[in-house]
């Protein structure tokens, strides 16, 4: 399946549990993959405070992923657990947003990616906290309190660095231009999303865009950054069509469990 055929997929015939499972993978995988990306900064961040902050954000995201994927495994009922889902799927099985897998590059890209993601994540979790499935709602209610701190930090940094020195401004603008094509995907639903929204399990992705856009525009304006006018949005992550970056990330993240299956210590 290619990204091009995604929108012409036949009507879903997924069962209610299959829709829930797929929805949980989409939410959990984005948290897991961004959590891993952010953890790559551990020991390398430009200041001690930022190193600690990155590690904490990564920890929150990976903790949330553990809850989402744990529930996914329970719903699937195939004997897998959160670790099996995290460490034993290939890239094509991952359902994360392309934005989450984008490489860290410099600190500007890392910060901008975090802000664009956090602003979406906060909207998503607010919707999921109202899910008709209480297991989904309780994870979201917990995660959104943590994400409020992520967003507070990332927007403070975007403003500080955007409206900072000529060098930091230029890097933040370049980061925004680089990442903008990945900001259409979070709001483009497919048949699975429609089924999940219909069942009241998750919000309709498109419904999250106005809140996200209002916040992003306000923060970027304060940061003196210019919104790119590109319309070449990229998508495919939520149906398993990823870029090269995810394969490289998984090669590191999954190495131990792949090389030494069932290793314990």
């Amino acid at each position: 399946m290619s990204a091009l055929t995604e929108t012409t997929m036949p009507e879903t015939t997924l069962s209610a549990d299959a829709v829930l499972f797929e929805t949980l993978l989409r939410v959990g995988d984005s948290a897991l993959i961004l959590g891993h990306r952010v953890s790559e900064w551990c020991g390398h961040a430009p200041t001690l405070e930022e190193d600690i902050a990155q590690a904490n954000v990564a920890l929150d995201l990976i903790g949330q992923a553990t809850l989402w994927l744990g529930l996914a495994a329970e719903v699937e009922g195939a004997g897998r657990d959160a670790d099996a889902l995290a460490f034993r799927r290939d890239a094509g099985g991952f359902r994360n947003l392309l934005l989450a897998e984008q490489p860290n590059r410099d600190f500007a890209v890392t910060v901008m990616r975090q802000f664009l993601f956090d602003a979406w994540h906060a909207e998503l979790l607010a919707g999921l906290a109202a899910s008709t499935d209480p297991r989904v709602a309780e994870i979201a209610a917990k995660a959104r309190k943590e994400v409020a701190y992520h967003l507070d930090r990332s927007e403070t940094l975007v403003i500080g660095l955007g409206d900072g020195t000529p060098e930091s401004h230029a890097r933040m603008q370049a980061a925004l231009t680089r990442l903008w094509p990945f900001t259409g995907e979070p709001f483009r639903g497919d048949a699975t999303d429609a089924a999940a929204a219909e069942a009241g399990i998750a919000p309709d992705p498109a419904a999250l865009e106005p809140g996200w856009r209002a916040r992003v525009e306000a923060v970027l304006a304060e940061a003196t950054l210019t919104l790119p006018d590109t319309a070449r949005f990229r998508s495919g992550g939520r149906s398993g069509v990823h870029g090269e970056a995810l394969g490289l990330l998984l090669a590191e993240m999954q190495f131990l469990q792949r090389a030494y299956p069932d290793a314990t210590w």
Partner: protein, 174 residues
């Protein structure tokens, strides 16, 4: 009661008292019950069920806490024990009582400022630190500033006193 002695269904109040002696693994100056993460203690037949909620989703202390509870209660002679995880209602720093807050302050950690919990949504202030007055746990000065929203554990933020110039941990509201 001597450790290791088998007992027959001790009262839940007794179990709460035992749990109150268990220190938090990362902030040992307060106990697990001070932290508010033990949500319930109940007997289901001959099985003792202790319900625990995590502070943060990814808090690495959660696993240690479960082990600590299990070990402590087995040492007290509880044979049949189950530890349930409960996510809802989500843990909040509001569950730290006045005594726990004083213990934190005495230890050098500024306790959470009541009413400043992270409130996602429209009501949220521009920055969670705006208008937040955190007193320095060392000199008591209110002239303090936030260095980072995150600190040495998931539940803390990094602050600095502008009078005594000492950096300190702030147990953040959530």
């Amino acid at each position: 009661m001597p450790h290791g002695e088998t007992v027959d269904r001790p009262a839940t109040a007794q179990v709460w008292a035992w749990l109150a002696e268990l220190p938090d693994p990362e902030i040992p100056v307060i106990s697990l019950t001070d932290l508010g993460i033990v949500r319930d203690v109940a007997w289901q037949g001959d099985t003792l069920v202790v319900t625990v909620t995590p502070t943060y989703s990814g808090c690495p202390a959660t696993g240690i806490i479960t082990l600590d509870i299990e070990r402590a209660l087995r040492e007290r002679g509880i044979g049949k024990l189950r530890i349930d995880r409960q996510l809802s209602p989500p843990w909040t720093s509001d569950w730290l009582g006045p005594e726990a807050r004083e213990k934190l302050r005495a230890f050098g950690i500024a306790p959470p400022v009541p009413g400043s919990a992270a409130m996602p949504g429209a009501a949220r202030a521009r920055s969670l630190a705006d208008g937040l007055s955190v007193a320095c746990p060392r000199c008591g000065s209110d002239r303090t500033e936030r260095l980072s929203q995150f600190g040495s554990t998931p539940c803390k933020a990094a602050w600095r006193c502008r009078d005594c110039l000492e950096p300190f941990d702030y147990f953040k509201c959530i």
